[in-house]
C-alpha cells in the first residue's frame, strides 16, 4: 500500500544560494530566480511577522502573487541578504519598549509614555485587546493609529514598568 503524501513533500522553498535579490534605480526590489526569470517591484512579506523575523519570507510580485518563499534570509548570498534585510526593516517597524514612564488612562483610552530602542514615544491604546501577551512574556502592542510596539520580555523590565504594565493586562 502506498503511503499517504506528506504535506511537507509538496512545499518547496527557493534555493537560497541561487536566488539573487537586488535593488534597481527606482529603489524597487529585483529578484532573479534560479531558472533565470526576473521579477521587478517585488514585495517581501514575513509569514510570521511576530514570531519569525528572518525566516519564511514570502516574495510577492507586483501583482501580489507569490514567487516563492525564502526559508531563511541568512542563507542568501551576502548581497541579497543585505538588500532583503534592509527592505524588511523598512516594511516592518516595531520598536521594542524598554521602559514605561507613565500610563494615563481616561475613558478606556490609555496614553503610554515609553522609552523604546528607537527613542521615546507617546501613544494611545483604545482597547486592552490590542495588548497581546504571549506565553514567553513577550507583549505585542498596537496603538490607536495601527503602529506596533513590542516588549521582548516584560518580566525583564524594571519593577515600576512591570507594575504599570500589569494594570493593563
Amino acid at each position: 500500500m502506498n503511503e499517504p503524501i506528506k504535506v511537507t513533500d509538496e512545499l518547496e522553498f527557493l534555493d537560497a544560494s541561487k536566488v539573487s535579490i537586488a535593488r534597481n534605480a527606482y529603489a524597487e526590489l529585483v529578484v532573479q530566480l534560479p531558472d533565470g526569470t526576473t521579477h521587478t517591484k517585488v514585495e517581501p512579506v514575513r509569514s510570521f511577522p511576530v514570531s519569525e523575523t528572518v525566516r519564511y519570507i514570502a516574495l510577492l510580485d507586483s501583482e501580489g502573487s507569490e514567487i516563492g518563499i525564502v526559508e531563511d534570509v541568512r542563507k542568501l548570498t551576502p548581497q541579497s541578504r543585505d538588500v532583503l534585510m534592509d527592505e524588511l526593516q523598512k516594511r516592518y517597524f516595531m520598536p521594542k519598549i524598554t521602559k514605561i514612564n507613565s500610563l494615563d488612562g481616561q475613558f478606556g483610552v490609555t496614553t503610554w509614555d515609553v522609552e523604546t530602542t528607537q527613542g521615546d514615544v507617546e501613544f494611545g491604546i483604545r482597547t486592552r485587546y490590542d495588548i497581546v501577551t504571549l506565553e514567553s512574556g513577550r507583549v505585542l502592542i498596537k496603538d490607536a493609529d495601527g503602529n506596533r510596539y513590542e516588549i521582548e520580555n516584560y518580566n525583564k523590565l524594571d519593577p515600576k514598568s512591570i507594575a504599570l504594565l500589569q494594570t493593563q493586562m
Binding site: P4, I5, K6, S47
Partner: protein
Amino acid sequence: MHNPMSGSRRGKSHRMGSFNGRPRRKKGNNELTTKEDVPELLQKQAQELLEKGEEIKVAVSTDLRFDSTYGKDWLLATDKRLIAFNQSGVLGHDMREVALTSVEDIEILEMYGNNILKVTTSENAFELARYSKRLTPKFNLAVSELEKLPALKDADSGDGARGRGGPGSGGRRRGRRGPGGNPGMQPGGDKSRCEKCGEPIPTWSGVCVNCVQNSKLIFRLFKYAIPFLYIMIPAFLLMLVIRFVAVLPPILSKELVDNILDPAGTVISAAVDNGGPVPEQLPETSWGHLEGIKNVLSGWFGSMPLGGSFGHLIWLVAFMAGIRVFTMAVSSVRGYMMAWVGQNITRRLQNETYEHLNALSIDFFHERDTGNLMSRITHDVSRLRDFIANGLQDIIGDSLTLINMCIIMFLFSWKLALWTLIPIPCLIFFTIFFGKKMSKVYHVLWKRYANISTILASTIPGVRVVKAFARERYEISRFSEMTYEVFSGEMNAAKLGSLYRPMMQLFTYSGSIIIWLVGGWQLFQGDITLGILVMFQSYIMQFFGPVYTLCQMNERFIRAGTSAERVFEILDTPPSVADKQDAVALANIRGAIEFKDVYFSYDNEKNALNGISFDVQPGEMIGLVGHSGAGKSTLVNLITRFYDPNRGTIVIDGHNSKDIRIKALRQQVGVVLQDPFLFAGTIAENIGYSKPGSSRHEIIAAAKAANAHDFIIKFPDGYDTMVGERGARVSGGERQRISIARAILKNPRILILDEATSSIDTETESKIQEALERLVQGRTVFAIAHRLSTLKYANRLVVLKEGEVDEIGTHEELIAKDGTYANLCQKQTELSKIRAW
C-alpha cells in the same frame, strides 16, 4: 399540518414530550403498573364477557376521554380480547370489545398534547384509549405487555410483515418499544421530569430541586475539604478564640464603669438614698456566677483596690485595646488561611470538573446548554467554595457568639436578659419574612435583567435584519418596556430594602430602649449595677449580625445543595463512548472500513441510520450524497466514534470500532466540518492544533495545500494574525481553508470532509480540489457535499436516503442507473446552467 394518523410520528421519546398542562396525578403515581384496580362496576360488566378461566392480564386507566374532558377511561386485556370502557358526557361507560385474534396492529398515535392508542383489525380500526403525555410511559409499557400476549403473537406470525426489526425502524410495526427499551442510552439532559419524584425539573438547573439530598451532598463536599483540614482545623480553632474573645469587651466596660469610674456606686447611692440597700460589693457577687472569666481576669482585678485610680484606668483601657488588636490580628490571619483553603478547593473542583467534561462524549454537550455548563464550573463552584470555607464556620461561629452572649447576660442578670430578648423573636421573624420577600423580588428582577440581555443579544447581532426591515422603532419600544420592567422591579426592591434596614434598626433600638427602661428601674432597685446596664447595651448592638446570618442558614444550605448537585451531575455522568479495558491501540490504520448493518439513533426513537452496510477499501474516496437528514453526517460521526452504533458494527482494519482505543483512532482521523471552529489564538496555532509541536515549515505547507497561504500572508500579521472571538475578521471560506489545513497537517489515514468546501467559491474550491486530489492518495476519504461537483474525484458515491443506502457506485454507474443520484445530478446541472447564464 402533518397528519398525525399517518403513523410516522409514532415513536417519539416520551421524555421529549412536554407534559400536559394539567397534571392529574397523585403522589406515588410514578410507579409504572399495567395492572391497576378496576372499579367494581366495570369489572362486573367485563366479567360478563369473559369465558371461563379467562383472566384480566392488563388493566390501565387513562386520564383523558374522547370528548376531551379529563377523566378516567379504562383499557383491559385478557388472553383473548381487548375491552375498552369509554365514557362520553354524564352517561356511564360505554364498553367495546375487540378479539385479539382479529387485531392486526396496535399503535400509539402521538398527537399534540395527547396520545391515542389505536387498534387496527382486518376490517376496521378502533381508537381505544386517549391519554395525556404524562401517561406515555405507562401506555408504552402496556403496549409492550399486549404484544406479549400469545393470541396476538399468533396473529402476527400469519402476517409475515414484522418490519425490519431494527429499534424504532419504519415499516409496519405493531406498537412500540416499551420504556425499558434501552435505558442506558437515555439522553440525560432532556429529562423533563425527575425519575425519582416525578416533579418537573427546572430547565435552568437540569437537576431535580426536590430530590437534592442536601445532607448527602454536603457530606460529599467535605471530601474536597479533607486535604486542607490541616489548615481548616487551626482556622476553626482560631475562629472559636475570636468568638470567645469578642464577647469580652462589654464585660470589661462593665468593670470599667463599676470598679474604676464609679467604684462606690455613687450614681446609684445618690438615687437610692431614700432607703434602698446600697449595693456594696456588687461586682464581687456578679463575678461569682462567672468563675471562668473571673479566673482569667482575677489576677488583674484581685490586685486592684476597689477604689479606682487613673493607673488602673490605663491598665484596663490598654487591656481592651489589646483585645481588639488581638482579635484583629487573629482574624486577618484566619481570613488569609480560609481564603487559601477556599481558593484551593475552587481550583480542585474546577479542574476536576473540567477534566471530566473533556472526557465526556459529544452527546452530553448536545443535550446541554453551553451557558448552563459554564455557570456550573464558574458560578456553582465558587458558591460551593464559599459554603465549604465560610458558610459552616460562620454558622457555628455565629451560634456560638449568640450562645455566649446569652449565657453572660443571664448570669449577670437573668431578669434583664429576659427583657432584652423580647424583640429577638420579632427580629428573627422579620428577617426570615423579609428574606423570603427579598429573594422573590430579586429573582423577578434578575429575570428582567436577563430579558434585557436577551433582547440585546438578539438585536445587536441581528442589526442588519432590524435595519433592513426598518424595525428600529419597534425594537426601541420593546427595549424601553424592558427597562421599565427593570425600573419597577428595582423600585419594588428599593421599597422593601428601604423598609427593611430601618425596621431592623428599630428592633435593635427597641431592645436598647427596653434595657434603659427595665435596666434603669432595676438599677434603682439595686438589682444591677450601672456597669451591667452598659454591658447589656453593647450586647444588644451585637445581636443583629449573628441573628441575620442564622436566619439565612436554611437558604444557604439549599443553595449549596443545588450547586453541589449541578457540579456533581457532571462528575457523575459516565462517558457514553468509552474505551474498553482491552481496547486496541491501533498504531497504523490502513483505512479499510466495513459497515455491517449499522443502526443508530440520537434520541433512541427515530433512527438516523437504518441498517447501513458497505465496504470501503483503504485509500478509497467515498462521496456521501443525500438530502439533509439522510444520515451522512451521522455516518461520519460514527467513524470518529463521537457516537457508537446502537446495533451492527463498524469494522476498521478488521477491528470492531468499539474495540479500538478512541485516542489512537482519533489521532489518525482528520475532520473538516462545515462550520469550522477557530480557537482564540494565531492562525499558526490554529493550524498547528492538530499536531502538537508542528514546525512552521509544516504549517506553511499545510496552508498551501489548503489554498490558505495566499490569503494568510496578506494579513499584516501573516500567520501570527490573531483569530477567534476578538481576533481578525476571517470569512467563512477562509475559516474552512484554515480548518482544512489543520486536518491536512495531521496527515491522517482517514480524512473526513463534512461539507468542507461549502462556503468556498467554485474557483477556489477547484484549487483546493486539485490539492486534495494529490493529498487524498493513500488515505481513505469520506466527503460529504451538496455540490456534487465537489465529489468528482470520488472513487464511489454512496447515496443515502432516510438512513439507508439507496444507491452505491461510481458516478457513471449511477448516472446509467438513472436513479436518485442521476436525478439530483440533473437538477444541479440545470441550476448551474441558470447560474452561469
